[in-house]
């Protein structure tokens, strides 16, 4: 029996391979020819005869009986012969005649291999004992296909390839009719009836169109239809009022019938979602939203072959970072702490490994990310610039499957395990880095003891209990550790849990209850021979509870409303001596606590077919809580030791200070044409926690600080206006969007501020305002062998810190460019598929060089020369550009292969452009030396092997 199946597979795989037909490789053609040469029946041989009496005998038994009697080996799949039964009497009849009778009325054909004494049963199809005409190519490309058919009156065999199917694989391919050598035609009749899946009633006025043609049939009042289809593979596009638009694939072997059982339109099927998504760009009311699918991003070459949705995000307009190797993203001129990054509804404070070079998310468990940089959905808040809503996949509920990859720096593994068939599943992902070898392999003894490693793991449970209830839960942990000197170890970690219960109360109202807990921390362990060993820690932890509802009031009003509340607990820094003889004093800065809450209600109003308005109001509330102490300072004076008025102590749970206010979320969409719209939006927001950093770029040991008596929340206002157009059935998307943004009370720091383990950090903090504006152009090609996008952004990001007192002023109180202000930013992401298996990708990025603070003079002090710096960010480093290339090879598509493989060979920074990242002016031996750093100054090749099973 195993041989039997193998044989089937060979046929199957040949059929698949041959779908490449004209473009096929020579080698395969030879195989193919060899195969068919082997099956040519020998003429003139006496047929074997058999006898038998069958009365209501199952087809399987009949076949097995014939196998015994005839001496032929039969090859078939058990499924094919499981259902039919046979009543027949034959007496010394030739085997082919018996088979004709036995298989009559079944979709089965047979083929006799006389030499091997084998009979192969085939479902629907027949074995062609000669190659289709022009199999090896045509001499002229202008031959009319129909004429060709006419001559032969035989259509070419249907080679159906699982991977060229055009629709989602929701429905099995329908095979209609039974091929009959004597009745091969170029088209066959299909008839059938359409039923409503829920009610069982027939559907009238259902339009059934053959995709890509104008051939159409409409069901009559009895739901009947009749349609002539070309032989072979066809896609039917099915539409009717109240019925979910759908597509069905059929293979026509001969005339036959097919009944269509269709879902109602309200229960959105996946296909419908896909349709809707395609036009989402134009039809949504939301401005400034982007979507990245983790799987789809696999072709984009990134550094060291690591798939990374956050890096891909940087190629979208309005999203950037200070440079390669800069942690954190800057969205529309906002600071890196103004992004709300969520992993399955819970905040992830640092979603990046290794100084931002890699994402801290397993690419195989990550479904994708929705990015909101303009109008942020009502349920989110607490950050000024953007929301990155990262979703983990729901596990496979059918069978165990997995994906794994091996790259030069990391290894990834993800498993999807069904727990309860068709209902619940578990996703397990783990990922580790082995960067140590890079350090070890260097010919530098001082690095032999250095280490760098990271790890992340995720566990997701998903249970779709019934149509009205769905439960998800996620647990995630990531950790980075690095050290160079053997006496100090730096580490940071993220931990989060979230659980979500989606519930449908009735057809109109559904809800989601979300609980999340996130923690971020870092530490430094210093263990030297001196008596200054210490262990230093920082943590922030938050717990969120959110309940949101959506009610479809009527056709015009869709209400969104809910409540969310968060509790923060921050350990702003602690240091403890380690080892017996350490003289370090233990120091614990007071814990900070706070409560953040929001109430929100919004309505999506469909005023007309063309005008969609989304109005929302969110009330944000924040209370800094005791216990703890806070200083008060004299009004109107800089906050420093000499202006302290009082120190107030708060008991546990006492309210230190409250902040809050209403946030508006308004967006409007007007459809000028079905594929052309304009949108406008306005929103404002509050942010109650801030990162403290005296670096020009983010470092993993920056701390988060809650607003308190002396540090007010940041506020932001953004207005945007855009025009969106889709072309060619949503194949192309074009959008042009402009925005203007104001920010109040953004934080900065006095030059050289000491922020860590500082009990009175407010004395180092400056609060000022910012403005950002820009225009973003995005052209996307979503489908086809050649796809990708081109984005161009012109934007500015300016900040101002002004005060009567010079110690609180930066650049004389004028607006200055932020560290990530890069006016011109062009990204081109392309992928060209030149066959099913091979594709080539290229990225190109160009950005204006980022601003830096540059020397404007030199001075001599303490017998050495030093540089005097300009006003902040008065100069720019040279422009940045980079080209990456990737070559992707999909493994072959043999169905029963153990694993499906995918190999990416990529070269990052092909041009070897030495893009400066920053400049330093170092005093060495009393002399000033100018140094510049770059992260990836030469082309970096890598090869990554992925496989699915």
């Amino acid at each position: 029996m195993t041989i039997l199946f193998k044989f089937q597979n060979i046929i199957a795989s040949h059929i698949r391979l041959s779908s490449f037909s004209i473009n096929m490789h020579r080698v395969r053609i030879l195989l193919f020819v060899f195969f068919f040469v082997g099956v040519l029946p020998l003429a003139g041989q006496e047929p074997v005869v058999v006898s038998g009496v069958y009365n209501q005998v199952s087809l399987e038994e009949v076949i097995l009986d014939l196998e015994k009697k005839s001496g032929y080996n039969f090859f078939f799949l058990k499924d094919w012969v499981a259902q039919d039964s046979v009543t027949l009497t034959v007496n010394n009849e030739a085997i082919f005649s018996v088979l004709d009778k036995v298989l009559e009325g079944t979709p089965l054909n047979y083929h006799i291999l006389e030499n091997e004494k084998r009979i192969i049963l085939l479902e629907n199809t027949i074995v062609y004992d000669e190659l289709p005409l022009y199999f090896f190519g045509r001499d002229s490309t202008n031959v009319n296909t129909e004429t060709t058919r006419g001559i032969r009156n035989v259509p070419p065999p249907t080679f159906f390839n699982e991977d060229v199917r055009q629709t989602q694989k929701e429905y099995a391919v329908s095979r209609v009719g039974k091929a009959d050598v004597t009745k091969l035609k170029s088209a066959y009749m299909l008839n059938g009836k359409a039923f409503n899946a829920r009610t069982g009633t027939v559907i009238e006025d259902l339009a059934i169109r053959i995709k890509g043609t104008n051939m159409l049939s409409v069901t009559n009042t009895q739901g009947d239809f009749e349609l002539e289809l070309p032989a072979g593979y066809n896609v039917l596009s099915i539409r009717a009022m109240g019925i979910a638009s759908t597509e069905r694939e059929v293979i026509m072997y001969s005339d036959g019938s097919l009944n269509l059982v269709l879902e109602e339109g309200l229960q959105q099927l996946d296909e419908v979602v896909v349709e809707a998504d395609a036009a989402k760009n134009v039809e949504d009311a939301i401005t400034g939203s982007e979507q990245i699918d983790s799987e789809e991003s696999k072709n984009i070459p990134l550094v060291l072959g690591e798939r990374d949705v956050l890096q891909v995000a940087k190629a979208l307009p309005g999203i950037s970072s200070a440079g390669e190797g800069a942690t954190g993203l800057n969205v529309r001129g906002g600071k890196t702490d103004q992004n709300l990054v969520l992993l399955d509804d819970a905040v992830i404070y640092n979603p990046q490994h290794f100084f931002g070079i890699f994402q801290a998310l397993n690419p195989f468990t990550t479904k994708g990310v929705d990015i909101y940089k303009g109008a942020v959905p009502l349920e989110f808040g607490g950050r000024l610039s953007s929301v990155f809503d990262i979703r983990t996949k729901n596990g496979n509920v059918e069978e165990v499957s997995g994906e794994a990859s091996i790259g030069p720096v990391t290894a990834n593994l993800a498993l999807e395990i069904p727990l309860q068939k068709d209902k619940s599943s578990l996703v397990v992902g783990a990922r580790g880095a082995y960067a140590d070898w890079i350090l070890r392999s260097l010919d530098d003894e001082s690095l032999n003891n250095s280490q760098a490693s990271f790890f992340d793991g995720i566990l997701k449970y998903h249970n779709r209990m019934d149509d009205n209830n769905e439960v998800k839960a996620t647990a995630y942990y990531s950790r980075d550790a690095f050290s160079i000197t053997s006496d100090s170890l730096y580490n940071y970690d993220n931990r989060l849990f979230s659980a979500r219960w989606d519930h449908r109360y009735n057809e109109k109202t559904n809800s989601a209850l979300i609980v999340g807990n996130s923690r971020y921390g870092f530490g430094i362990d210093f263990d030297s021979e001196a008596n200054t060993d210490f262990d230093l820690d920082y943590t922030i932890e938050e717990t969120e509870l959110k309940y949101k509802l959506r009610t479809l009031l009527n056709e015009k009003h869709k209400l969104d409303y809910g409540i969310s509340t968060k509790f923060y607990a921050v350990n702003p820094g602690s240091i403890q001596p380690t080892g017996g003889d350490s003289n370090v004093t233990a120091n614990f800065i007071d814990q900070e606590q706070a409560l953040e809450g929001a109430l929100f209600v919004g309505d999506e109003i469909t005023l007309s077919e063309k005008l969609l308005v989304n109005v929302g109001l969110r009330y944000a509330f924040f209370a800094a809580l005791g216990s703890g102490t806070q200083r008060t300072y004299q009004d109107g004076l800089p906050k420093n030791e000499s202006t302290v008025l009082d120190t107030i102590s708060y008991g546990s749970g006492d309210v230190v200070k409250t902040y809050g206010g209403p946030e508006a979320r308004i967006s409007v969409r007007y459809l000028l044409k079905p594929d052309l719209s304009i949108k406008a939006s306005f929103n404002n927001s509050y942010q109650f926690l801030h990162t403290l950093s005296n670096n020009t770029t983010v470092s993993p040991i920056d701390t988060w600080k809650l607003s308190d008596l002396n540090i007010a929340p940041q506020q932001g206002y953004q207005a945007s206006l855009g025009i969106y157009k889709n072309f060619k059935n949503n194949e192309y998307e074009l959008s042009l969007e402009g925005y203007y943004k104001r920010m109040d009370n953004v934080l900065d720091f006095k030059t050289g501020a000491d922020l860590f383990l500082n009990e009175n950090v407010e004395t180092e903090v400056l609060q000022g305002d910012g403005k950002a504006y820009g225009v973003e152009l995005l052209l996307k090609k979503n489908r086809g062998d050649f796809n990708g996008w081109l984005s161009y952004t012109y934007s500015r990001s300016l900040y101002r810190f002004d005060s009567e007192f010079s110690e609180e002023r930066v650049n004389n109180g004028d607006f200055f460019a932020s560290n990530f202000d890069k006016p011109h930013d062009v990204s081109l992401i392309t992928n060209y598929k030149f066959s099913k298996r091979y594709s080539l990708s290229a990225n190109f990025v160009y950005q204006t060089g980022r601003p830096v603070t540059y020397p404007i003079g030199t001075f001599r002090f303490n017998n050495a020369d030093f540089v005097a710096f300009s006003n902040r960010n008065e100069f720019r480093i040279p422009d940045f550009y980079r080209l990456d290339l990737g070559f992707n090879i999909e493994g072959n598509h043999k169905k029963n292969k153990l694993a499906h493989s995918f190999v990416t060979i990529s070269v990052y920074n092909v041009l070897g452009r030495n893009n400066p990242y920053s400049v330093f002016f170092v005093t060495d031996n009393g002399e000033v030396k100018a140094l510049q750093s770059s992260i990836f100054a030469v082309p970096i090749p890598s090869i990554t092997y992925n496989f699915k099973f």
Partner: protein, 435 residues
């Protein structure tokens, strides 16, 4: 309470190394156009300690990076006053250097202010400062250690003693002196050098006995980086085992006998933060994170001008110092010495270059050398490259066989291998003791 967590350095080295593996990460570049946009702002370098001695304040102007030397600020009136108005004047001794008239002693518990009036009429004054309390260096010692980079060597460690209950801030400088022993002792040295081709006997080099041996010298080295320490995060307010200097085991300075004088300046928190920032702004930082640089505010302000800018600091400190000596054998008994300061390969530079040829001058009597080649041997001696090592026994035979061109009369060593004065002085420092 503040602590210097110093992640930047570590991150840099780490990242730097990644980059060296994959690409070049930090490299020097030619900084262009760093001309002095400050148009010569005043720079005040006023570091005064409680030592009873003459003190000097340096005044200069900011300058362009291309220029090598700052312009000294001449003709200024410089003085420090206490709160009672008593003033100590600093008089210009050399351009830009203003010194007290003989030794002075500042008093504890008094507040002092620095005043500078430049010749253009701009007045600068510092914030009030006072001498911090006396903290003595209690112990200075050397210890064989492996440092954080797993490098073996000698750590110079400081302990100091303070009984006050306030955190202390220190700045260190050091001067190290070490014995150098040239590996090739030679009683002979070059004597006459005849570099005249027309004096009848051509070029000639002779040797003669040395008057004194030059194989033992004393090298000297001063710290040129900013070394800061604080007790802010420590239980006690004294330092214990603070590493002022680390000498790798391959550092020649520790080969024989080594001495280090550690100078401790005890200053206040404001001075500590100024020097700390100066260090941060002028040292290599993280590849992935760099400190936001900006205007470095000192404690000196312009009083009567909107245009003038001033850099610098008026630092008052209490001073303490200590010196130690040690021998290589104390820490590395029977272990090979670190490599000598220079490679001591033997060479044989010819007196006449390869292919040497002279032509008589038509007017008669003299010769001119074809080409411009000089004598490799004489040129090397005159530029201080070669020391005499030995005679070349094959010299005569070579000339007979091959001619003058390329013939080397002597074997030579790099000068420093014989004469250690290249690296130090043969004068024994006054403080030097053996045992």
């Amino acid at each position: 309470m503040q602590i210097k967590t110093r992640p930047n350095i570590v991150i840099w080295i780490f990242a730097g190394s990644i980059c060296f593996g994959l690409s070049a990460c930090i490299e020097e570049f030619e900084a262009e156009n760093i001309t002095d946009a400050l148009a010569g702002a005043l720079v005040v370098d006023a570091r005064i300690s409680d030592q009873n001695r003459e003190h000097t304040i340096f005044l200069s102007r900011t300058f362009s990076l291309e220029a090598f030397e700052p312009l000294p600020e001449k003709g200024a009136q410089v003085g420090i006053s206490d709160e009672l108005g008593n003033r100590i004047d600093f008089l210009e001794i050399t351009p830009g250097a203003y010194s007290t008239n003989g030794a002075i002693t500042l008093e504890q518990d008094k507040m002092y202010t620095l005043e500078v009036l430049t010749i253009d009429g701009v007045r600068y004054t510092s914030n009030e400062a006072s001498l911090p309390g006396k903290v003595e260096v209690k112990d200075l010692r050397a210890e064989r250690r492996v440092n954080g980079f797993e490098k073996e060597g000698i750590a110079i460690l400081v302990d100091n003693e303070d009984t006050s209950n306030r955190p202390n801030y220190f700045r260190y400088e050091y001067e190290e002196t070490y014995k150098i022993v040239a590996p090739y002792v030679n009683p002979f040295d070059w004597d006459e050098i005849d570099y005249d081709i027309n004096d009848g006997d051509g070029w000639e080099v002779t040797i003669a006995s040395r008057d004194e041996l030059v194989n033992v010298c004393y090298g000297n080295n001063k710290s040129n980086d900013i070394i800061l320490a604080s007790t802010a995060v420590l239980d006690a307010n004294n330092l214990d085992d603070f590493e002022v200097r680390f000498l790798g085991s391959e550092n020649y300075a520790i080969s024989h006998r080594y001495s280090i004088l550690v100078k401790q300046y005890h200053h206040d928190i404001n001075a500590a933060s100024f020097f700390g920032l100066l260090e941060d702004f002028s040292s290599i930082e993280g590849i992935f994170s760099n400190v936001q640089t900006g205007r470095l505010e000192g404690n000196i302000a312009v009083q009567n001008s909107d245009m003038a800018i001033v850099f610098g600091y008026f630092e008052l400190s209490s001073y303490s110092e200590k010196r130690i000596f040690f021998e290589y054998e104390d820490f590395f008994p029977n272990e090979p010495l670190p490599p000598y300061l220079t490679n001591c390969a033997t060479g044989a530079p010819p007196l006449y270059p390869e292919g040497f040829h002279i032509t008589p001058v038509p007017e008669g009597g003299e010769f001119i050398i074809d080409g411009t080649a000089g004598s490799p041997l004489i040129d090397g001696i005159l530029t201080g490259l070669y020391a005499y090592h030995a005679d070349n026994e094959d010299y005569e035979e070579y000339i007979l066989r091959e001619g003058l061109g390329g013939a080397a009369p002597f074997f030579v060593k790099p000068l420093g291998c014989v004469d250690c004065r290249v690296f130090g002085s043969i004068i024994v420092p006054k403080f030097w003791t053996e045992e």
